[in-house]
């Protein structure tokens, strides 16, 4: 894979440091284990030699007790005749002054005493070809009780020493091999990890350079890297959606705010072109202010939608009484319905708690009632709020012309107004806000015909919001309207 100064990068990664630390720990424990094996093995060999010598000297002492010094002398001569082999036992019987009497050693050896009765000393070994070699030997000595003579029984321990060295060498090699495998394994793991981080990095770079469609590939193993990639991808999806939404809004604003702005400007220009006249000027200014107010209203509605969509106030969501909110809005619109000769029926269940923003919820329900009252020439409008399982269902139904099925999705888009509704006041943002509020609170909104199949099918807008378990109702978000002002 293409990497700049891969070794330097490797050494700087956390993964490598972790691997190195792990390796050090691992090597230490391997060394400790091998040291234990070595010492216990060496110890075992030594003890076995000692046990053999012990058994032999005990046997000889018994012989001595039964057959006297002559019997012992005979046995030793028997055992030590002929060419002495390397692994053959060493015998020496000496008098009180350590002068040799019989045995296969020529001199009482001088060596370092290990513990009482034990000595270690060098012994000369003659090979068949005549060469001599010094070997290390271990011997046990006793003083014979009756004669004051000394008896020595020993063993050439060079074999054991060789065995010990072998073990040491083997263990050293094992250590080296373990370390090598550890280093290689660490390098392999680190590189593997680095490669996957690199994939994420390269994807991010491509996205930074403008290709928003890039996604981090998954390996399908479901490990941490895959989880990270999944989360990153989800985040990217969300960002892309928001960006697309923003682009759409900008386009719509450019389109829908430009028209009234152009009209406003044209009116002012034309007024200036004509002959100065105070009354006409006044009228033009009043119209301009009215138009500016409409524009500002549109602007504020867009901001509310953006706010709800961005979910920037999600942390401000509190548990609120949906029934009270709905009742209050219904009461606000009741006289409006009355004025138009419509009946407004509100059927609202008690004690419905949702997690939401009181102001936005009020505005959403107000928008629904506003629409229903505006587009219903005669008949009735109803607001029903009830619990259905774990959901609160807010439905606003009317007896107006309704919305044709093919347009029931598009009316939620910003600035969309149906043919025939353009003459009534409105900015085409009401339902957009309702949907944004619904989504912000984890709910949804849809349209259906109120009385399908009839000439005036009417419309029913159904807003579904998740209910919250009844916990202590927190104080309202904003202070109560202060009448003392």
């Amino acid at each position: 894979m293409p990497m700049q100064r891969p070794l330097v990068r490797l050494l700087r990664t956390n993964a490598f440091r972790l691997a190195a630390l792990y390796l050090a720990l691992f090597a230490t424990s391997v060394l400790a284990l091998l040291a234990f094996i070595y010492f216990s093995t060496a110890d075992f060999v030594e003890r076995q030699t000692e046990a053999t010598l012990d058994a032999e000297i005990t046997g000889l002492r018994e012989q001595y007790q039964q057959r006297g010094i002559d019997g012992l002398r005979k046995i030793i001569i028997e055992r030590s005749v002929g060419e002495r082999r390397t692994d053959a036992p060493l015998y020496l019987l000496a008098d009180g002054n350590y002068q040799p009497i019989v045995g296969n050693l020529t001199l009482w050896p001088v060596g370092k005493p290990l513990k009482p009765g034990w000595i270690s000393f060098p012994v000369e070994v003659r090979h068949r070809n005549g060469a001599t070699e010094l070997h290390q030997a271990l011997a046990e000595t006793i003083e014979l009780p009756d004669d004051g003579d000394h008896l020595l029984v020993g063993r050439d321990t060079s074999d054991a020493n060789i065995f010990r060295t072998r073990i040491l060498e083997t263990l050293a090699w094992a250590t080296v091999l373990t370390l090598m495998l550890g280093v290689l394994g660490g390098l392999f793991l680190t590189r593997n990890m680095l490669r996957r981080v690199d994939v994420v990095n390269r994807t991010s770079e491509r996205i930074i350079h403008g290709d928003m469609s890039q996604r981090v590939p998954l390996t399908g193993s479901g490990d941490e890297f895959d989880q990270l990639a999944t989360n990153l991808n989800a985040m990217l999806d969300q960002i892309e959606r928001l960006m697309a939404g923003m682009r759409q809004v900008t386009d719509n604003i450019a389109h829908d705010l430009r028209t009234p702005l152009a009209r406003l400007r044209a009116r002012l220009e034309v007024t200036l072109l004509e002959k100065p006249d105070a009354q006409r000027y006044g009228e033009a200014l009043r119209q301009t202010i009215a138009e500016a107010d409409t524009l500002l209203g549109t602007f504020n509605a867009l901001l509310s939608i953006a706010e709800a969509e961005a979910g920037s106030r999600r942390e401000a969501l509190a548990v609120v009484r949906l029934d009270e909110i709905a009742r209050s809005v219904s009461e606000l619109y009741e006289p409006v319905a009355d004025e138009k000769g419509l009946t407004l029926a509100a059927i609202i269940d008690d004690g419905l708690l949702v997690r939401g923003d009181r102001h936005l919820l009020s505005q959403a329900i107000a928008n629904l009632l506003d629409n229903a009252l505006k587009y219903t020439p005669s008949g009735s409008v109803s607001l029903t709020v009830r619990a259905e399982g774990e959901w609160a269902r807010v439905a606003v139904a009317d007896t107006g012309p309704g919305v044709p099925p093919e347009q029931r999705e598009t009316v939620f888009d910003r600035f969309v107004r149906l043919e025939g509704s353009r003459s009534t006041p409105g900015n085409g943002l009401g339902l957009s806000l309702v949907r944004a509020v619904a989504r912000m609170q984890g709910g949804s909104v849809r349209l259906e015909a109120n009385r399908p199949g009839t000439e005036n099918p009417g419309l029913r807008v159904i807003l579904t919001l998740p209910l919250t378990a009844p916990v202590a109702v927190p104080p309202a978000l904003a202070p109560e309207p202060a009448l003392g002002m």
């Binding site: 009043r286 009020s362 505005q363």
Partner: protein, 225 residues
């Protein structure tokens, strides 16, 4: 009445000074927070209009410093930040009212007037009276002359607010905010409908009306001159 305007935008400040001057106020202007704080603590003003975003020291800090210094002049905050959370923050900082830019001058005037009057009103009132219209806040009854008028709870609150501000102009937005606690503009002019209902109840059949529409601004309850 003496007003201090703390606003850094020169054009907006000039507009406010001119408008308020023409409405009969004596107006001082401070272009930044520090000078505003200095003037507000030293001069004797009846009301302050404070922009929220100011160079040097922001509006909310100015208000906080004033309140800490035990200056309780009523403050109207002006801000381009219009979300409910922003309002709450502004009012918690010690502001008495909050107006989002851009605003109609009539709105500003109405709110300022409401603020200035509040300082003069007696602390506890149990009875409100405008001409022959009388409201008993304890018994929650309304009478015009000797005639008892039946009002729904919300109508009662609407009339109460109007009567507390008798003689002043009250805008639709003020009514929505104070009587309903709504901070959005319904597309249909619902307030007008509520007012006309209230008017039916308190003015119909009487020789002189008490509830007046102020064109381009709002409503006002006032008695005969």
């Amino acid at each position: 009445m003496k007003i201090l305007v703390i606003e850094d935008d020169r054009e907006a400040a000039a507009y406010l000074v001119k408008g308020l001057g023409e409405s009969g106020y004596v107006v001082d202007h401070a272009p930044d927070g520090r000078e505003g704080l200095f003037l507000a603590t030293s001069g004797s003003y009846d009301g302050l209009i404070v922009d929220r975003m100011l160079p040097g020291m922001d509006g909310l800090s100015v208000i906080g410093a004033l309140r800490a210094a035990d200056v309780h002049t009523p403050v109207l905050i002006l801000s381009a930040l219009g979300a409910v959370d922003d309002r709450v923050k502004g009012l918690r900082a010690g502001g008495d009212d909050y107006l989002v830019k851009p605003f109609a001058f009539s709105e500003l005037l109405a709110r300022l007037e409401a603020l200035l009057r509040r300082g003069a009103a007696p602390a506890v009132q149990t009875r409100l009276r405008v001409d022959d219209l009388e409201m008993d806040l304890l018994a929650r009854t309304v009478k015009r002359g000797t005639q008892v008028i039946e009002l729904l709870p919300r109508e009662f609150r609407l009339l109460e607010y109007l009567m507390r501000h008798a003689g002043q102009v009250v805008t639709r937005t003020m009514l929505l905010e104070r009587v309903w606690d709504y901070h959005f503009d319904p597309q249909t002019n619902v307030i007008d409908v509520h007012i006309s209902r209230l008017r039916q109840k308190i003015d119909k059949g009487y020789p002189h009306a008490l509830l007046h529409t102020v064109r381009g601004a709002g409503y006002s309850v006032r008695g005969r001159e």
